[in-house]
Symmetry: C2
Subunit: 413 residues, 2 copies
């Protein structure tokens, strides 16, 4: 989708991604809930745009508060964030781990429909309310209930382990395993530069060694290590989606915004299996639409935020979006192209493996990271944005390549 | 919101509202699940608009499949309905029992944003998977978790019983109880004219007597009877939301569509209590916006589909939207104004009490009923649409007056 009028994102805010790895995290102590995360992120954005009076609508991306927190109806928390939002339109959107991306799409459409000049988009998830194995059962609702009966106890790790196994068989195991370890190393190295990242304080000496260890199928899955997995996180991210008018109202100069130049949103059938487990076909479709509608090629991207729920998903995505030929994704990573100083820096604050994965928040977090990078706000994690590559791409995925939101952003000046 | 371009709804479809009261319903036998309901309703609409090739996007309104059916990610069921929808954008939206209305709002914005000419909007809920008391706990997630701890076991019946109690105290009990009984009688009489209604086969001789019986607080709530409550239902409803171009592509003449002339969408703070339990203030705000933006008064409405999750909600709504003065809602009902031959026929196929309340589907069902009435498709339930009153209104509510979607529709010719 090519926007019918100018549209921007501004005023991003991330809470800490909370969970194992953070010093503040103590599983036995009471911790912040949905309310605190929504408030912190929502108010963090409101403070940058002149307050609730400048907001016309709200949207919340959330996957499974229904089970993690025994709470539905999250759109109705907007006025809790700020009483100035009372009676304004608000809703929750959901597409499993793409819920955050869908919140962005929903906000973008509100602005394009001219029902709003400014939409407050928040993604949130608070998952550390249950043990990991029960959490896996909750997250498994992103897949088809009737198929889950036959799946792995850790359903999604099992799904992506199967993808890894198929990839190993087709293209070889050794180099792929090395590349997955490198993906992990890049993620942690980037996370160490971002104060809100869950792995910010990671002090592992040899990340390559940690990432290369052979999986222990009895403990987890056949082909994935814990280092291949995204984090179990609590967190929220917020950003404002605005028209030119909304930007003016907020008193924000154009240089502090990123332009949304195209959106690709694609959905596949949850009841079907991937035709080829070594391809992410819905990601391929969504990114193709986004790049086409933006009128650019993948080589014009300065950075990508991609959905590495598992390192193998990151690797296969590189091939499915045309950065590497099929079977050459591992080489592409091992040559250093995806590192923060490489040809195309990916997940510059750590991605889902390093920064964290508060599921319903992740899509919004990606947009916030892109906004930070393209406006020079990324602090220690700042990468160079070449003048001839003013574009960035985010890829947010729900389920096993079933719902995908891909957005192309442009530096404004 | 006043649409920035012409927008219509066409090709509605309702499944049966399944549950107690339907002859087909046997709680001990396996019944249709989400998949079957989504397929029946989705295909029912697709068949009327020339198939999936004419659909650009999909949206699913659903409240709590996460717990009723252990299933999230409902947007990814679109391509299961028809493989022609594969890779097209789709998402789920949620706002408790207003989820269906939010699906309509989301589809309307897609068309207004020009990202779609035709959106397939489906609402679905399959609730008879658990006993009523556990179902009440699931539905209670529409309220704030932290307040629910102090509430009634049947949380929402408890909330609306409290409203009824406050209303009785302020305006008197006897006449109000009579009006609630009449609301029930109207609902059942209308449902008996609609083959998909859950109370279609209701054979109670004396509906007034059934509705007037004094509540037994030990069995249920202080101030509400079972006859004051909406049904526990399984069901789905679908409708197509189209631009003029979408209407042409579907090959549907204008007379078979209804125009969407205005939308009012308002949200209140889920963590707060109603300021005055005898007023529905969010309904008041949403309807005010919808009528204002439509440029009409409540007297120009030929019919209203309103969210009578409990009869007292229906009664108070009449006052909050200006049909009756505060305290005069009971008189308005008892004078016969809301019956199918009255001044303003309300819930002409039975509403939530008579037709049924498959929660996430209800908002879409309301639109389908309006579409049927304004295009002369309502069969035995057809009411007269006066030439000088070509408008209809739907009011869909989530939680206790927290999320409201009000839509004004117009007969096209």
């Amino acid at each position: 989708m090519k926007p019918r009028r100018k549209i921007y994102m501004v005023a991003g805010y991330n809470t800490i991604s909370m969970g194992t790895g953070r010093k503040e995290f103590n599983p036995k102590k009471e911790r912040a809930g949905l309310e605190e995360y929504l408030k912190e992120a929502g108010q963090g954005t409101l403070q940058q745009i002149g307050g609730a009076k400048n907001v016309d609508e709200g949207v919340v991306g959330n996957f499974m508060a229904a089970r993690f927190n025994n709470q539905g109806h999250l759109g109705a928390f907007m006025a809790m964030i700020d009483q100035g939002l009372r009676y304004k339109p608000s809703l929750r959107v959901e597409g499993a781990c793409a819920s955050g991306g869908l919140a962005l799409v929903s906000g973008i459409k509100s602005v394009l429909s001219e029902s709003a000049d400014t939409v407050l988009a928040i993604g949130v998830e608070v998952q550390n309310t249950v043990k990991a194995i029960y959490g896996a059962d909750i997250l498994a609702t992103a897949g088809w209930n009737k198929r889950r009966k036959d799946g792995h106890a850790y359903f999604f790790p099992g799904q992506f382990s199967d993808r890894a196994g198929a990839y190993f068989q087709k293209y070889g195991r050794e180099k792929t395993r090395l590349a997955m370890a490198r993906w992990y190393r890049n993620a942690i190295e980037n996370a160490r530069l971002c104060t809100t990242a869950q792995e910010y304080a990671n002090v592992t000496d040899d990340l390559d060694e940690a990432g290369i260890a052979e999986p222990n199928p009895k403990a987890f899955t056949d082909f994935l290590n814990y280092t291949d997995c995204s984090k179990v996180s609590d967190g929220a991210s917020a950003i404002a989606i605005v028209s030119e008018e909304g930007l003016k109202k907020a008193g924000i100069p154009l240089k502090d915004a990123v332009e949304v130049v195209a959106v690709g949103h694609a959905t596949d059938d949850i009841t079907s299996n991937p035709e080829d487990p070594t391809v992410m076909s819905t990601i391929r479709e969504a990114v193709k639409i986004a790049l086409n509608d933006a009128g650019i090629t993948v080589d014009q991207l300065a950075t990508i935020e991609t959905h590495d729920c598992f390192s193998i998903a990151g690797l296969i995505t590189l091939e499915s979006i045309g950065l590497a030929e099929p079977g050459k994704g591992a080489d592409f990573i091992l040559e250093g192209n995806t590192s923060r100083t490489g040809k195309i820096p990916i997940n510059t604050t750590g991605g889902l493996i390093g920064w964290g994965h508060p599921t319903g928040a992740t899509g919004v977090h990606q947009a916030v990271t892109v906004w930070e990078q393209l406006t020079g706000r990324a602090g220690d994690a700042q990468i160079n944005i070449p003048a001839d590559k003013p574009y960035a791409l985010s890829i947010n995925m729900g389920g096993d390549d079933r719902t995908v939101v891909a957005i192309v952003y442009k530096k404004t000046m």
